[in-house]
């Protein structure tokens, strides 16, 4: 094979790979949309559905409260210290540190970083739970009873996450700002009165709404995508592991992508 034909051979392969990848992505999107069509159905038993939502809120979100709180406090403290180190300009008043910390926590760190973290925790749990049910024929058992298994398993998780994740993010914002205050009070980063003045300056309520809307989108993405990957599982334990990894990777990627899109729409 001469040099030119080798090059052509390589190009064909690369093009084929691109085509295959595109086909796979489009196939996944199609399957996801078809599954969502099944998911958003009227529940078989509304009383039981309400119980499922409460259970999901408890098992998916309330269980995350402690770790979200710890991360938020440390995150707030670290942002305060870092910002103080970077802004060593005598012309800038100390309270600007508080202002920068508040904007960072409210606009990005709490809604996005905590959501990416939750995509790992909640996403892997949803995908592995549904995946295991799929490979042990529990999903088939639901289907043979005449129950819409997709709706029964995924819909309460989506509602649970979408309702409670914004609340988790509000708590995260408060604790992030509290962490910053702790850094000022106990580590002497800046005077805490200056920090409080900073976090109260130029407060716009729209920023909170923006953070909550983002969180709502992210909660929907992480729960529905993880549910999709769980529901797609076939085979055995190995596949359950693979699909839960896929769920986390895809949810995290799409959270970051939608962060960019929503930021451009709301603030761009």
């Amino acid at each position: 094979m001469n040099k030119i034909s080798l090059l052509k051979f390589g190009q064909i392969n690369v093009n084929n790979m691109r085509l295959n990848l595109l086909e796979l992505i489009l196939q996944d999107i199609g399957e996801y949309l078809l599954l969502m069509k099944r998911v958003f159905a009227i529940p078989e038993n509304k009383r039981y559905f309400r119980k499922q939502i409460v259970d999901e809120i408890n098992s998916l979100c309330i269980d995350s409260l402690l770790i979200v709180s710890v991360i938020s406090i440390f995150m707030g403290a670290v942002i305060t210290i870092q910002t103080n180190l970077q802004v060593e300009n005598p012309l800038l008043p100390s309270w600007t540190i508080g202002f920068v910390v508040r904007q960072s926590v409210v606009l990005e760190f709490a809604p996005t970083i905590i959501s990416v973290f939750l995509a790992g925790k909640i996403g892997s749990r949803i995908a592995s739970e549904i995946g295991t049910m799929k490979v042990t024929e529990q999903v088939d058992a639901l289907e043979t009873m005449g129950i819409n298994s997709a709706s029964h398993l995924i819909f309460p998780k989506i509602i649970g996450c979408s309702l409670i994740n914004p609340l988790l993010i509000v708590i995260s914002i408060f604790l992030g700002l509290f962490g910053g205050w702790c850094a000022c009070e106990f580590l002497g980063t800046i005077p805490s009165s200056q920090y409080i003045e900073g976090i109260r300056s130029w407060f716009v309520l729209r920023d909170i709404f923006y953070a909550l809307i983002k969180t709502f989108f992210f909660a929907f993405l992480m729960s529905s995508i993880s549910g999709f990957w769980g529901y797609k599982t076939t085979g055995g334990a190995l596949e359950v592991g693979k699909t839960s990894t896929q769920a986390v990777v895809n949810s995290s990627f799409l959270i970051l992508l939608f962060d960019l899109i929503l930021t451009q729409i709301f603030l761009g």
């Binding site: 078989e44 024929e137 058992a141 009873m145």
Partner: protein, 250 residues
């Protein structure tokens, strides 16, 4: 009565079921036997609607299951009880909740009636003291019995059992077989059992259908399965050395 007429099933272009026609009688335990990979699980999944057959008819008391709308299928599925190979009990629920589940989702009974029905079903499978256990806390045989209790909770007309004895010791297998047979006769259910366990065939096989390479190869009962001239069935029945020695003695 469940009747299959000229059923075909393909996966991609591979034919898995070829022109299967047979009848399963009510009040009898109808066994489908065959080697692993012969197509018996696919046939059962077609019967319960987890797979869609490409050609043919499946009739539940003269109602064509394949041509039914989703709503009609949903109604007929509530007349089915299915016992899966591993039991398929819901891990997150206790034994009581597992049996209660179809009643909560699909029946109009009040709470007291549901409780009574759960107690009755669990007593029927001799598991009245296990209400609060989770599936992970009970043995394989008990799981199968809970799955039977769940499958009869809604008083099914048709009971499907996929390899009910897989993973069980011979003594527990016998208990499960007897339970399936008793329930079938007691409630006049059309029971279809997938198995490759010859002990089950001899114990409860009132009708026996042998599937070989996706085709219905032989049909009879537990009395004539041992004396057939069918070469493939003989190879299946007398596959073990022990069975071959018995045949030689006979």
């Amino acid at each position: 009565m469940v009747k299959i007429e000229h059923l075909y099933k393909f996966f991609n272009e591979k034919e898995v079921l070829h022109d299967i026609s047979c009848e399963f009688e009510p009040g009898k335990t109808n066994l489908i036997i065959g080697q692993s990979g012969s197509g018996k699980t696919v046939l059962m999944k077609c019967l319960i609607g987890l797979y869609e057959a490409e050609k043919g008819r499946i009739l539940y008391d003269h109602r064509d299951f394949i041509k039914m709308s989703k709503k009609e299928k949903k109604i007929i599925r509530q007349e089915m009880g299915v016992l899966f190979q591993g039991g398929a009990l819901f891990d997150s629920m206790t034994v009581k909740e597992n049996v209660m589940f179809p009643l909560i989702m699909l029946s109009d009974l009040n709470d007291a009636e549901k409780n009574d029905r759960v107690n009755f079903c669990l007593e029927r499978v001799k598991l009245q003291d296990t209400h609060h256990f989770y599936p992970s806390q009970i043995s394989g045989g008990m799981k199968k019995r809970v799955a039977i209790a769940r499958s009869i909770a809604l008083n099914p007309k048709y009971l499907f059992c996929d390899e009910p004895n897989s993973g069980l010791d011979p003594k527990t297998s016998l208990v499960i077989d007897e339970l399936i047979s008793e329930i079938t006769h007691e409630y006049q259910i059309t029971t279809i059992v997938n198995t490759h366990d010859m002990n089950s065939v001899m114990a409860i096989g009132e009708t026996v259908s042998f599937i070989f390479e996706g085709k219905l190869w032989w049909k009879g009962n537990n009395e004539n399965v041992l004396f057939t001239d069918n070469k493939e069935l003989n190879e299946f029945v007398y596959a073990s050395k022990f069975a071959q020695q018995l045949k030689a003695i006979k």
